[in-house]
Amino acid sequence: MASSQGAPLSPTATRSRKPLVVTEQPKFDLESYIANYTGRTRLERLLLIGHCSSVVGVDALKLAVKDAKLGKDITRYLDAQTPLETLAPGEREATRDLAWMDKTKALNLAEISRLESEVKGYKNNLIKESTRIGNEDLGKHFQAIGDLPRAFEAYSRMRADAQTGKHIIEISRHLIEVGVEQRNWIAVTSNVQKIKGVMDSKDPDKSLQPFLCAAEGLASLDGGEYYNAALQFLQTDSGMGTSCNTIISPNDIAVYGGLCALATMERNDLNKRVLENSNFRTYLELEPHIRRAIGFFVNSRYSQCLTVLESYRADYLLDIHLSKHVDDLYYMVRSKSIVQYFIPFSCVTLDSLNEAFAAPGKTIDKELAMMIKNQELEARIDTQNRLLTSVPLAPRASLQASTLQTAKEYEREARRRIQHMNIHGADLEIKGKKNANQLPGVDEFYDAGIGGRELRSGRNVAF
């Protein structure tokens, strides 16, 4: 249906996201949290925390400035330093180090031209291996200075000179790293597929499987496909260690996987696939509260489960991959809990639901109405007696109704087909002027019955 122009946008699309500000104290310790990561993701994470958290923001930015000055990325340095000028002008890190910036800029430019001329030289001399490594160096440099599109290009150029499967894996790993930072999930998934295509050699790299799962999981998570994301994270082999800490830490696997599973899986699946999953257990042990939350859910202690999750909300809002999805995931867990809570009853008072799920002083009425409207909850609200009643199942009536409906549709469709055939047969269909010289009757018949006429006339033109 052509609905692109003038179509009312869905209510979710028009909602502009307010800049996120987290005022609660996160549970993690900044230093040890960031120590889990290396590479550019460190800076990125620090910047997000710095921009969003009012509690640990300044510390995060200070760390980010320090980190940035160790590297070569001027833009990132400014990203970290500029807010500090207003937030904490007294700090040493708040003053802009122009000398460092100029120096780094010059060095970066010199390095680019050096590497580029090197690559050119290798290319002219047709030294494949060196061209590949030259391109890799160039890519690394671009990545380090924050020019991601050119880094992506440079890494992609490596492919022309790749000779072994190992090379291809290397290239794709680089591309995935850049892709994750660019949020270019299509590139990420396609490169994951490329690695999978060449991976089946005899000595598989143990660290590769977790890396691929993490990359694919992140792609699904970002696309809002929480169930697929959960499956990916849950498949991750144990023993990731620090091998992927340029993009993700083992703790993240536990959190992402646990939350996605909690939001999308049924009770039995949660038990079997999450709690009893020996691979995933090693990750869950790193984040025991996720394990606790899932345990509570499985044991039908929904309010405790929600409390645990709620207490970590600030942490997750400050996570680069999770922050956009926290609200959605929490909403899903919450509505699932309400549905599960209601299943054994035919009638529940709204007050008891309020007690179990609503924050003190608030009511759950609106939320329930939304859930019923979205067909997440099969129930009806009685606002007079303040009750939530289940909808009586009437399988017989609904089967009969659907039978009648099907029969009716069949009848209509069949009649319409007969009508059309007869209109064709009577040579009464609408014809354009250009067909006036064709044989009437005959053509229509073949069009209607066999569909050969068009092919044929096309052919006559072609030959």
Partner: protein, 498 residues
């Protein structure tokens, strides 16, 4: 006249013989009689009987339809010529109407031309006297009597809907419109029926333009019939049937990407009627041709926008959109329908509440719904009460309302799924089965028409030959003037291509 009467009444034999006439004897008898009656001059037909009675008073139209029709026509033409020998207008009108509702459907098949002339005369006279509404019911009855299955479209159908629309006498026409049109005149009849007096014949075989029971059709006429009958149901607020009629128009088969303006008009109305019926933009029927679908989306964009807002927008947006496009609706003569759509918006909201609440107070309904006619909430709970009461009485809402002296009125929605009782359901199911079985017969009939078509048989023959010669046998057909050998060569070229 007296000497004529025995001749006129010679057939069918009266009183009917113990053993009914065979179809053959009937056919022979009636043809002979038509021959005789047809040769009589007008003046002879206008003579009075020896007793001074008028011939039309003597002959029973349900027994001797043929002489009656001829005499009737003679009188009509006499009246047109202002000939004093004819009867006065009042009597003649009564006789014409009487004939249409009582003629013998078996005999009438032989005098298609006369039948058509009488129908046209009734329609014409009524229209010229500005009393079209009087003609609707008799013509509808006549068409039903002629073809009880009602599956065959005739030119009289078109006359009927035009009259009905003009005079707003919708109800009288529905006995014809309720029947789904399966056949249109012009279908090449496969086998000529031996005797058209056979009462088991399908209408396709005896209602043809050759038998003059219908005129010839152009595609626009067929489309107009569907559109007009849709409009008649719209006039009766029967949205479901209106939708069906309009669907026949919008799915009308077309070659290549041709679309008729009538189809686009029908589509615009279809969108609005769909809203009134289901509250949303319905998906196009499967059999819509793709060229037409594309065209609809371009030509009826404002309507689709309205539908989308109706589905997911707010009352005030719907109102402003409807006001913004007012010249469009007026131009398409859909303004009245649009007003219906606006007033239906809040009703759909209220019905939607039944999916969420089991019991709710009127003030809560007032605060949760908005009227698209004003763009605001209802002014008072009383207004809401009135609206809901009307909805319950008209069967649009399954609910009960209880008022209390102290508090606000409370609306209790009936649980779903128990709309029909068990025995009602049984009947519905049985009826549906019956209709589908009847439909299966029609499918067989159409199948037979297609497989016995001359061109098709030729095609099958050629195909068989082709298989014998070792060709791939898929499409060595199509162009009559093409040499057979050329066709084969053609085939081979394609073979190498693929």
């Amino acid at each position: 006249m007296a000497d004529l009467l025995p001749k006129l009444l010679s057939f069918p034999p009266h009183p009917p013989p113990a053993k009914p006439l065979s179809d053959q004897a009937y056919d022979e008898g009636i043809r002979e009689q038509i021959d005789v009656v047809g040769k009589l001059t007008e003046s002879k037909l206008l003579q009075q009987t020896s007793g001074g009675e008028h011939a039309l008073d003597v002959i029973n139209p349900s027994l001797n339809s043929i002489p009656y029709a001829y005499i009737l026509l003679a009188n009509i033409s006499a009246m047109r010529k202002a000939n004093s020998k004819g009867v006065d207008f009042e009597t003649l009108w009564d006789k014409m109407i009487g004939f249409l509702v009582s003629f013998d459907p078996r005999q009438i098949r032989y005098i298609g031309e006369e039948f058509s002339a009488i129908v046209d005369a009734v329609a014409g006279l009524a229209a010229s006297n500005r009393q079209s509404y009087l003609a609707v019911a008799p013509i509808a009855t006549a068409l039903t009597r002629l073809d009880p299955t009602g599956s065959m479209l005739t030119t009289h159908h078109l006359t009927l809907v035009k009259l009905a629309l003009e005079s707003r006498n919708f109800a009288a026409a529905t006995q014809v419109l309720d029947k789904f049109i399966l056949y249109v005149p012009g279908v090449p009849t496969v086998t000529k029926p031996k005797f058209i007096c056979d009462m088991n014949l399908s209408p396709v075989t005896f209602i043809t333009d050759k038998s003059k029971l219908t005129g010839k059709f152009k595609y626009v006429d067929v489309l107009e019939y569907f559109l007009y009958s849709g409009m008649i149901y719209m006039g009766m607020r029967d949205w479901d049937k209106a939708l069906q009629c309009l669907e026949s128009a919008i799915t009308y088969p077309a070659k290549e990407n041709n679309v008729s303006k009538v189809m686009v008009d029908a589509y615009k109305k279809w969108v609005l009627v769909g809203l009134l019926l289901e509250g949303k933009l319905l998906p196009l029927p499967k059999s819509t041709s793709s060229g037409a679908a594309k065209c609809y989306h371009v030509m009826a964009k404002p309507y689709e926008t309205i539908a989308q807002i109706f589905e997911s927008g707010t009352a005030s947006r719907l109102k402003s959109e409807a006001e913004f496009g007012v010249h469009i609706w007026r131009g398409d003569l859909n303004y009245g329908l649009m007003l219906h759509v606006l007033s239906a918006f809040q009703k759909f909201q209220i019905r939607g509440l039944a999916n969420i609440y089991s019991k709710i107070s009127i003030p809560e309904i007032v605060s949760q719904t908005t009227s698209a006619e004003t763009g605001n909430k209802l002014p008072t709970p009383q207004a809401a009460e009135l609206l809901i009461q009307n909805m319950i009485t008209s069967g649009e809402l399954h609910a009960t309302m209880s008022t209390s002296a102290t508090g606000p009125s409370i609306l209790t929605f009936s649980p779903k799924g128990q709309v029909l009782t068990e025995s009602q359901m049984q009947r519905e199911l049985a009826g549906s089965t019956e209709r589908i079985l009847a439909l299966t017969k029609e499918i067989k009939q159409t199948d037979r028409l297609l497989t016995h078509d001359k061109e098709y048989i030729k095609f099958v023959q050629k195909q068989k030959k082709h298989v014998k010669q070792g060709g791939s046998g898929d499409q060595g057909i199509g162009v009559e003037n093409m040499d057979w050998n050329d066709a084969i060569e053609d085939e081979d070229i394609m073979g190498t291509m693929y």
